[in-house]
Symmetry: C2
Amino acid sequence: MDALDTALESTGASAFVMYASSQDANLRYLTGFSINDPVVYIKKAGERGLLIVPQMEYARATAESSCAVMSRAEAGFFEIVKEEPDRWRALAQMIANIAGGGFLLPASSPFALGRALQAHGTVQVDNGTVEDIRAVKRPDEIEAIRTAQRAAEQAMAHAVARIRDAGVLGGMLVEKDGTALTSATIRQEMHILLLRQGCRGVDTIISCGEETAMPHRLGEGPLAEGEPVVIDIFPRDERTGYYADMTRTVVKGEPSPEIREMYDAVREAQALSIGKIRAGVTGKDVHQAVVDFFSDRGYESGAKGFVHSLGHGVGLDIHELPALGPSGGELKPGNVVTVEPGLYFPGIGGVRLEDMGVVTAEGFDRFTRFLKELCL
Amino acid sequence: MDALDTALESTGASAFVMYASSQDANLRYLTGFSINDPVVYIKKAGERGLLIVPQMEYARATAESSCAVMSRAEAGFFEIVKEEPDRWRALAQMIANIAGGGFLLPASSPFALGRALQAHGTVQVDNGTVEDIRAVKRPDEIEAIRTAQRAAEQAMAHAVARIRDAGVLGGMLVEKDGTALTSATIRQEMHILLLRQGCRGVDTIISCGEETAMPHRLGEGPLAEGEPVVIDIFPRDERTGYYADMTRTVVKGEPSPEIREMYDAVREAQALSIGKIRAGVTGKDVHQAVVDFFSDRGYESGAKGFVHSLGHGVGLDIHELPALGPSGGELKPGNVVTVEPGLYFPGIGGVRLEDMGVVTAEGFDRFTRFLKELCL
């Protein structure tokens, strides 16, 4: 982690300090360790990181993490709490004893800990050093994301086939036995398919009709003929921890003219923006190109219409740097991003198409191979 | 949330403020809203909570949360960032404009936000008000946990049956076709069973032999005859968000005398401690009773042997209050806790048994019905 050493040098802090579980992707990235409960991570310039863990995790952390490992007992925690009953102050004391004075903390560190550390030295907020490292993927990370993407496409193929093969009864999609075909059923089938490929699907979106005007509405009930169905799936590989992310919008039967026009615009917007992506271009400009394109087509952005950013980084977090949006900086080779224009209008519905790939010096190497077809 | 109003009154703060995603169980509990990215929650005394969300989540938050909802645009965020490019200071300004001066923050709030809020008023750290509310379950929460527990037991029954029905070849467990029966296979089957019951299993532990001396080692490879297999499953109901938690230790064939003795001690320790649980007793005393019992049997606690706490609360988090451990306070009716004594010795292995139930005025209403048998 050379960049962390550089950050330590430039801030003059004696150590970079985290207190987080591996739900914090930075901790998982820095340590290679998975743990549900928060642990202490201390990194001094030029040294290997140190994990301080509960006794019960000591042997596992030694076996599984890339760090030096110490138990809380070895770190003196239980001696300190005898004198200092406040848990956060005791934790700060333990950290200060090991890290020295002057701490560089992630912005997301617990406020109670940061405040308690101020009694032991200057506390500075790190300016996203680890997020910036993570935004540029190594080849093995790209391969892990591609693997998750392949699983996502198999699950998507299943969902699309289920809708294509469904019967129609009274305007609703039905199973062969005439019972309603629901979002919940297809979601469960997709999640089982993903598990068989070593991936975990959570909160997969299968929304229909009115629901699709809300971009992140999960969807639960029966699916309807002639209505948009938004399918957004973002599985995580259980072994590597890396995500994929993709979205398709389909209609069983004949869509309304509004949905058809929205679909064509979204599809063109995606092609247009993907054509602009390459290292050196800013995420802001790529996003703005879509805003302008939609505007030319008569679609607004902001409170209605295109209500979200064009895309986001994907890695150990489902949403990470870089942003393809109003705040998006310069893209770099190795950035893995989604490109997902969408249009949403209450009373009409929503359309979103999302592909994913890696930014290169010349352009965009798209991982997503799945067809785009509106009408099934 | 009367307790939050009381906390606001006693601290003199104008508002309780959170910035978190629903991965923070407090946010999910207070708002009923599920969201992957952090949002602002502001609660003033006597008022309904307010969620401030990105535009794309506005309609969904209105439909799904129990809160008043405002978009970031309505909250003035985009006007503020024009003048204040630092994201955390801009967020603090937006919050201060709405919350007034004087903020009560959870200890886990982002340090960068808490520090920025200090420019607008006194910042106090809340002393676990929401965690304390959550620790005492309502009847509907107890039912949700019981439901998840039923799913856990079906998955456990499958795992135990797979081990019982396995063949043995050269000391290893094998499938009917003679191939190795692995932890990974059984884990995947359990997770599929759980999905069919609307639950999500993550990081289910199926460790064997040497691995079992590490309490949270997942386990991956082939299972062996005559070795302890620790199966620890903690599924989450996808609809309600509530967890269950249970552990069994089994051996295919004949265990070593050490494992048999450890198993008997752990089983007796569990019965003994469950007999002590009732409202008014402290978690510390129940934990200590097990430490003392193990000591009488010649098993140490701490660095070896019984290396973890006796148990923990379960709810929207897998580990929450109250603690059955050295820091455990007085138990209350409605606390849902695990009771999970364990013994771990490198070179010998580990044994853990975990049941779950609710604390009552008279004792402990155990949810777990699953048999305990060491030898399969």
